[in-house]
Each structure stands twice: as structure tokens, then as C-alpha cells.
């Protein structure tokens, strides 16, 4: 990490440069973090003044069947989504960092799903997964198989992961592409002389040098996994805004903004944030071990 120590006038520049962020932090985000923690110790319906609730909102969580279900769903989802997204987008980026014909086409192709708003493409996926005349089932029945109920309780997890990964590869790809650009060619030259195979170059040079991007991408993907909403909602929603595969944000959203139980919602949000933070710390460690810059 850079350790340039500002002196004299430079100190003012540090302030100027950070000012927007600090204002944003204090005015918006920062307040709401503390607010969330605070609210989690109260009962509050948003409209009438909150009443203190101690730890009861947290204590109630294990008994909340819907919460526990969404917790399990979320963990299962994240466990599949994070590694798949990071790995695939990394490989795509490495592939697209070469000089191959049709590069622009490929970049656009892989990025398309990312730019498209879930509301626009999510519907398309309901069609792909549809039970009758769905694209997938049509293919399966054409080959003589039995149609699969892609969005039923048991299969929905995988179907939803696929769509989310599909939608996230492009984003990861451009982060990695940018990161790949910053790796000096020298390292590859030395490695080539040292006798490294392409895989070894990838493993020993590219990945470690990509550590900052990787760290970023891991943290971000994890956060996204724990907050995934749009596609899941569109694909698995049930009549009243619920889902056959509710996740944690679902639960938070419904408790807080549908049912005005801000205390419960905040407690769940705190639990969610804590889980993400634990994972972030683990990534930090892993990365340090790998020798990169956090």
C-alpha cells in the first residue's frame, strides 16, 4: 500500500479529495449503518417512535422459520454463486486478454447479460425455464427426456444460480480485464525463461499479480451473493411478493418495508453484514498469505 506521507499543503489536498466521500459517508451511509445497529435493538414501525427491545430481535431469529429458511437459501446460493462467478469471469478475462479474432464481439457478448437490467431479461429466463414450451424443456423433450420443473423448490436454487452467474460474468470480466492490463510483461518473460507452462504462468504470475482485482471481486461477489434479489425475485416470486426461494435480503426487505418491522429487519441486516464481514476478513487473510496487496 502506498505510504506517501502528506506534508504541508498536501494535507489539504487529501482533505479535498476525500471530502465528497466523507460527506457521503457521514450524511448517508455512515448514519444508516449506525442507525441499523441501533434500530436492531428497538421495535419500530417506521412511523411511530421506536421502543427499546434489547436483544429480543436477535433472540427471535432462530425461531423465525422464514428467516432460517432464507438463511439456508442464502448460504447455499452464495456457496455456489461466488466461486462460479469469480472463476468463470476470471477465465473469460484471461481468454479475452489475448489477441484473438473478434475480440470486441466477445467482450460485448460476455458483457451483455451484465448490462441488461434483470427486469428486462429476467422475464426471458422465466421463459427459458418454463415448464411447457420452455426453451430448455423443449430441448429436453426433443431428446426424449422428461421435462424438468426448473423453478420448483428443489431445483430453483441451481436454476437461479445459473441466471445470476450468467448475469455477473460480464462484470467480473471487465474488472479482471482492467487488472490484467496492469501486469508488466516482464514477469511473463522471466517466467517463460524459467520454463513455466501456461498453467504455471497463470497460477504463479497472473493470479498473484491480479490479487488486488481478485480481492475486490471476491468481496464484491460475496456481497452481491448475500444481497442477490432481482433475478431471484423475478424467477421465483409468488403472488404476494414472496418467493419460493427466499433469501436474506428478501426477508429483510419484507420485514422492514412490507411489514414495517424495522427492528427485525435491522437485526437481520446486521447478521447479514456480519457474515459478509467475516468472509471479507477471511479473504484479506488469504490474500495476505498469497503475498498480494489488500
Amino acid at each position: 500500500m502506498g505510504n506517501l506521507r502528506p506534508m504541508g499543503l498536501e494535507r489539504w489536498w487529501v482533505l479535498v479529495f476525500l471530502a465528497p466521500t466523507l460527506v457521503g459517508l457521514f450524511v448517508g451511509a455512515f448514519g444508516s449503518i449506525f442507525a441499523s445497529v441501533g434500530i436492531s435493538f428497538t421495535d419500530w414501525d417506521l412511523l411511530t417512535p421506536p421502543t427499546p427491545a434489547g436483544f429480543s430481535n436477535y433472540a427471535g431469529l432462530p425461531d423465525d422459520r422464514l428467516f432460517m429458511r432464507s438463511l439456508v437459501n442464502t448460504l447455499a446460493f452464495a456457496g455456489l454463486y461466488v466461486p462460479l462467478t469469480v472463476a468463470i469471469s476470471l477465465f473469460v478475462a484471461i481468454g479475452l486478454n489475448r489477441s484473438i479474432p473478434g475480440l470486441s464481439f466477445f467482450r460485448v457478448a460476455f458483457f451483455l447479460p451484465t448490462v441488461s437490467s434483470p427486469t428486462a431479461v429476467g422475464l426471458l429466463w422465466t421463459w427459458i425455464y418454463a415448464q411447457d414450451n420452455g426453451v430448455l424443456n423443449n430441448m429436453i423433450t426433443a431428446m426424449g427426456g422428461d421435462p424438468v420443473r426448473w423453478l420448483s423448490r428443489d431445483v430453483a436454487l441451481y436454476s437461479v444460480v445459473i441466471v445470476n452467474v450468467w448475469g455477473a460474468i460480464g462484470g467480473g470480466m471487465i474488472i479482471f480485464l482492467a487488472g490484467l492490463q496492469a501486469i508488466p510483461k516482464d514477469y511473463y518473460e522471466v517466467a517463460a525463461l524459467d520454463g513455466a507452462t501456461a498453467w504455471q504462468r497463470l497460477w504463479f504470475i497472473t493470479l498473484p499479480a491480479l490479487a488486488p482485482s481478485m480481492f475486490f471481486q471476491m468481496v464484491l461477489t460475496t456481497i452481491n451473493a448475500f444481497q442477490a434479489f432481482d433475478y431471484i425475485y423475478i424467477l421465483t416470486r409468488t403472488g404476494n411478493g414472496n418467493s419460493t426461494m427466499p433469501t436474506l435480503v428478501f426477508s429483510i426487505y419484507r420485514n422492514g418495508f412490507r411489514f414495517f418491522r424495522m427492528g427485525d429487519a435491522a437485526a437481520q441486516a446486521v447478521v447479514l453484514s456480519a457474515m459478509i464481514m467475516v468472509l471479507t476478513v477471511i479473504y484479506f487473510r488469504l490474500q495476505k498469505k498469497w503475498g498480494g496487496q489488500p
Binding site: D45, L46, L47, T48, R65, L66, T126, W127, A130, Q131, D132, N133, G134, R149, L151, S152, R153, T238, G239, N240, G241, N242, T244, R254, F257, R258, F259, F260, R261
Partner: protein, 395 residues
């Protein structure tokens, strides 16, 4: 010069009608301006919640009766009783059942704007093609089942159904399973005692009937199948019958369907349908309560209701208007009177605190039965358990 804001859910077309109502209102009240805000259903509530929590709700906004208690109990609605006490004639001629939902121990915090009774819609062309007689007021649920089976077709013979006898929304009780349970003598919920009642033997009988049509006969598309076709099976031309309120009329007409309506079939306990109403509420934070009330008053007046009747989305709450040409002689020619007549055997859609959460819990659980993932009994047990949880949480 006072400005009031009025928010509602609906389509841009609906907003246009409201704009013309507002215009007429403004003509009569030159010192008041009405700003109309329309959003789609989800967006409407989302926006409203932020506005209300942020302390700046619209002055007047639309309300769905079942959700009304939740909002009312949060002290964000203005008590209209004093205005009504000042001018009791305002509510003259309003169908009493529609008012019921808004009446509370502490006052009247909303007034109905229109109401919706559920009737049976059917596609005449499909009936004609299949040679099945149109439904009439003699129909029992068994007749319905037979007809539905006859109307379920695999037209191109590829082994998959491409026309179903009927479709219904499975999730919310309003259009289908509520009337079925009631007409089998069951009850749905008792908010006062915090009990969900759908696992009584009577209610079970109703659900079993649904399961027969749905899963055994496969005369109705699953939810997944519906989602693929844009939910409304009648509209998309894949189902011959459907249960809905008046709100479907303009859509079906625009889609060029050749359709009409019939009463919901009779069950062992007679004919029961559901009725629900949308209403107006005024924010307790409004700076212009009088102007807001003036507008509401105008909207439920004969003038306002007549204009509203004309869009054909709902049934007016004033008996006079409901009997008038404004309602009965709409451009789309079907049996409009049926919607009013249905009031006689209509059961009010339950209105209680926590309705939204309860209905979600129950709907999700029941859905497992309709997809075949769980047995009906198990699904009902889960529905009752989760439903009671939700009721408990809200009381």
C-alpha cells in the same frame, strides 16, 4: 390557492381518467389544484412507504381494503368521521358492505372508491368450439369441473395441453379459493382470535375440489405455466374460463376476446363470492385536509362515480350510479349488472391487521399443494402454522 397530491396505482390510461375527474373538480373548485401520481402496483406501495416514512405522504392516496388496517394503525391516516358528521349525506346511497372495511372503533379513516365482486368469465368462442353450454346461474362447482375438463384440449396433439378449461390465480384467496371455501361452508380466518381456519373439514372439502380440478383433471394451468403466458389465462387465450373482478373487462375487450360473465358456481353451502373494495384515504400529515376532503367527496359523488364507471375498471359504490346507464351501458357490452347483483351473496374479503403477511404465508404454503410438492394436508398444516405465526406477530 391550494395544491393537493393524489397518488394511486394503475395504468397510464387510468391516470388519464383521473386527470379528467380532477379537471372537472378543479373547474368546480378554482382554488384547488390536484396533482396526480400514478405507479404500477408494486411501485405504488414502494413509493408510498418511503413517502410516508419520510413524513411527506401524498395528501390523498388510494388504499386497498385488506391493507387498510395496517396503515390505519400506524396513525398516518386522517380520521374522516368529523367531516362525515358535518355532512352525513355524503355517504348516502353507498353500498354498506363497501363501507364496512373502513369502519374502526376509533373512527372512519377511509372511504371506498369502488368495489369488485368476483364473477366467472368465460370465452364464448372456446365454448362454442367445444360445444359446451355457456355457464349460467344454475352451475354448481361440479358443473364447472365437467365443463372445464371438456374444454381442456391438446389441439395439435403433441401431448401437451394448449387450452385449459379454466385458469385461476392460486395465490390470493380473492378470486378463487376464497369463494370455493366459503361456498363449501368453510371459513378462512378469524383475525380476532388469531386463527387461520382453512383446515376445517368444510374448508378441506373446498380445497379437495380445487385439487381435483387442478391436479387430477389438470383442467387448470399451473402457476408456472401461467407465468409463461403472462399470468392471465383468459387474456392470453389459453383458458376458457377464469375468475376475476370487473377490472379485467377493459383488458379482455381490448384483446378482442369474445367473452361474457356468469355468477360463480354454487357449492354445498350455496353460492358465495368475494367482494373487495379500493378506497381513498387522506394523510394525517396533510396541510390541506379540507381541500383533500373536498376532492375525495367529489370523487365519491355521483358526478365523480359516473365518470369512473365509464372506464369500466370497477363498480361504482353508489347504488344510483351502479343502476345508471353510466355503468350499465358501457362501451363493452357484457352483463355488468351481474357484478352488482353479486353483492347479495358476497362475502367480504377479510380485512385485518397483518393481512399482507398472513396472506403471503398462507399463499406460499398452499402453493406447495398446487405444485404437487406436498400433500394437501401437509400444505394446509403449514399454511395454518405460518399463518397463525403471522397473525401472532401482528397483534
Amino acid at each position: 390557492e391550494t395544491e393537493i397530491s393524489f397518488a394511486l396505482w394503475g395504468s397510464p390510461q387510468e391516470a388519464a381518467v383521473w386527470a379528467s375527474i380532477a379537471e372537472a373538480f378543479e373547474a368546480a373548485h378554482p382554488d384547488i389544484t390536484v396533482n396526480i401520481e400514478v405507479s404500477d402496483w408494486d411501485g405504488y406501495w414502494e413509493k408510498l412507504r418511503v413517502q410516508v416514512a419520510g413524513g411527506t405522504p401524498p395528501d390523498v392516496f388510494a388504499m386497498d381494503a385488506p391493507l387498510y388496517p395496517d396503515w390505519q394503525l400506524r396513525n398516518v391516516l386522517l380520521d374522516l368521521q368529523p367531516y362525515i358528521d358535518a355532512d352525513p349525506s355524503v355517504l348516502d346511497g353507498v353500498f354498506p358492505v363497501t363501507l364496512e372495511a373502513y369502519q374502526t372503533d376509533t373512527g372512519l379513516f377511509g372511504v371506498p372508491r369502488d368495489f369488485q365482486t368476483i364473477v366467472l368469465y368465460y370465452n364464448k368462442d372456446m365454448f362454442d368450439a367445444a360445444g359446451v353450454d355457456y355457464p349460467d346461474d344454475s352451475w354448481t362447482w361440479d358443473d364447472f369441473r365437467t365443463a372445464a375438463a371438456a374444454l381442456t384440449l391438446d389441439k395439435d396433439g403433441d401431448g401437451t395441453t394448449d387450452q385449459w378449461g379454466a385458469w385461476a390465480e392460486v395465490y390470493d384467496m380473492e378470486p378463487f379459493w376464497g369463494p370455493v371455501i366459503w361456498s363449501h361452508g368453510g371459513e378462512v380466518v378469524d383475525p380476532a382470535s388469531g386463527q387461520t381456519l382453512i383446515n376445517s373439514p368444510e374448508a378441506m372439502a373446498g380445497f379437495e375440489f380445487i385439487q381435483q380440478v387442478w391436479l387430477e383433471d389438470q383442467s387448470m394451468p399451473t402457476e408456472e405455466q401461467l407465468s409463461q403466458y403472462g399470468w392471465d389465462g383468459l387474456l392470453s387465450g389459453i383458458a376458457a374460463m377464469g375468475f376475476s373482478g370487473h377490472w379485467s373487462v377493459p383488458e379482455y375487450a381490448e384483446a378482442g376476446l369474445n367473452f361474457d360473465v356468469a355468477p360463480v358456481p354454487m357449492g354445498p353451502a350455496g353460492r358465495v363470492t368475494g367482494v373487495n373494495s379500493a378506497g381513498f384515504v387522506i394523510s394525517s400529515d396533510t396541510e390541506a385536509p379540507d381541500a383533500a376532503w373536498e376532492f375525495v367527496k367529489y370523487a365519491i359523488s355521483e358526478e365523480g362515480q359516473s365518470q369512473l364507471a365509464n372506464i369500466g375498471l370497477a363498480v361504482p359504490i353508489l347504488e344510483d350510479v351502479a343502476q345508471s346507464d353510466a355503468y350499465l351501458e358501457q362501451p363493452v357490452q357484457i352483463n355488468h349488472a351481474l357484478f352488482v347483483e353479486a353483492l347479495e351473496y358476497a362475502h367480504m374479503k377479510p380485512v385485518f391487521r397483518g393481512y399482507e403477511e398472513w396472506s403471503g404465508a398462507v399463499g406460499d404454503s398452499l402453493n406447495l399443494a398446487w405444485t404437487g410438492e406436498e400433500s394437501l394436508a401437509d400444505a394446509l398444516d403449514e399454511a395454518v402454522a405460518l399463518g397463525d405465526d403471522a397473525l401472532a406477530r401482528n397483534n
